[in-house]
Symmetry: D2
Subunit: 138 residues, 4 copies
């Protein structure tokens, strides 16, 4: 799991007095930066090798400008050419939003998807979502 | 169904040379403006009465800066306090992204959800998603 | 002079209930699109040849979400390698913001500034800022 | 002087491979957060008391995605109702952009400008721009 924190920006509030829902994809994307480094250690745009296929964002609470956001990022599923990432955002210790994102390993020069290399896959395994406590565990 | 068109902004491209995935929620939100008017005809922030609960965005194609985007918006489901909106974005006649969004009827003064008034419900019925043509229907 | 209109986006409001000042550079940039076409007719990113050196933005009025913005764009000064662009934004017929921007003709492959070609210069002359009428000028 | 650091966001790059000029006002606004606290210690939107009148941004270098930005913020001038703020942004120890911003003390309930209270003025004095060393000044 990767942890990332950020301060909401004043410009991310909207006329309803909370953070605009439209800002969340950029926050979750920033929180994936350490994950991106597994794929592209320098983060150089020239060697970028992931493309976003879909995301699903649930907003659990109105998010305020004043307090820091903590985002936890885990890998939920590793396929041959893609991975699913789960993220949870907290503010003042309360969960405020969740994201589920599918990223595809992509060769921008050839403009096609490719298989995730074995070395990267094995590194991703270190960041699998922790299992929820198991009710058999009495 | 509502139709809406927009020109991608130069600032919405990213270093990979296409439109950043993070821009899509704001595009789809703009394309819901006519829907918002059914709830709040003046669009005044003081009488705003919807809150976004979740969205799901699928990216089907890399989106380029140069060409116009057309977005079609339909109502997929009308509940007591919420509605589900389906949207399809096209560029150069090809589908490039889809969105499914859940909006909740919300009283910002009381800070609680409320039932969607019957008059608004009946207007929403005019914008239900068109049924797909059925080839058996000869 | 070029005219451009846009509808403010809901996500561009901020917690003070008006349009965030941080949105204005992207609006003014969009309003320069016809000017960009004089330099790069296809608007393709691969052949882009301008870089922004500075801008100055004055906000004259709080800008509201509800009403359309009209932006007028003129060329104020044409140098060997750069040009100065003046822009005025109006909402409900009232001036709400001004921008003065310096753009430099730039070769992204060589990473250096170049002289603006004579053909482009002559086209720019058609878009010079109109002189204010001066009744004393007899 | 206030120091503030931030990591550029992937979504802030543009199709030219550097950070979009349109992102800078939000960066400089964030770097003014400690200054905003002198005016509104809780940062609550309900008690916000500043409005932006103008800004001028100079871009000295192309800004890259990969490296941290450091922004230094000083007060250049304190008027009765407004103040001028100077900011310098650095990346990898090199100056990359400057901003000069005029903020006005503003009562959003009454919708009018007011005089900056003496207590705030005296706090602002602690953050005046350091004088450039002057070798003639023996």
């Amino acid at each position: 799991m990767f942890a990332f924190s950020l301060l909401p920006r004043f410009s991310e509030t909207d006329g309803l007095g909370h953070i605009s829902n439209t800002c969340l994809p950029a926050w979750f994307e920033e929180a994936r930066k350490e994950l991106f480094k597994l794929f592209n250690p320098t983060l150089s745009l020239k060697t970028w090798n992931l493309i976003l296929k879909k995301y699903e964002i649930d907003i659990l609470q109105q998010i305020s400008y004043e307090n820091e956001i903590l985002i936890q990022t885990s890998v939920a599923n590793i396929g041959n050419k893609s991975l699913t990432v789960l993220q949870e955002a907290f503010q003042s210790q309360k969960p405020v939003a969740n994201a589920k994102t599918v990223l595809v390993y992509f060769n921008y020069q050839k403009n096609l998807t490719e298989e995730i290399p074995a070395e990267i896959k094995s590194q991703l395994l270190n960041h699998l979502m922790p299992k929820k406590s198991n009710s058999l565990n009495i």
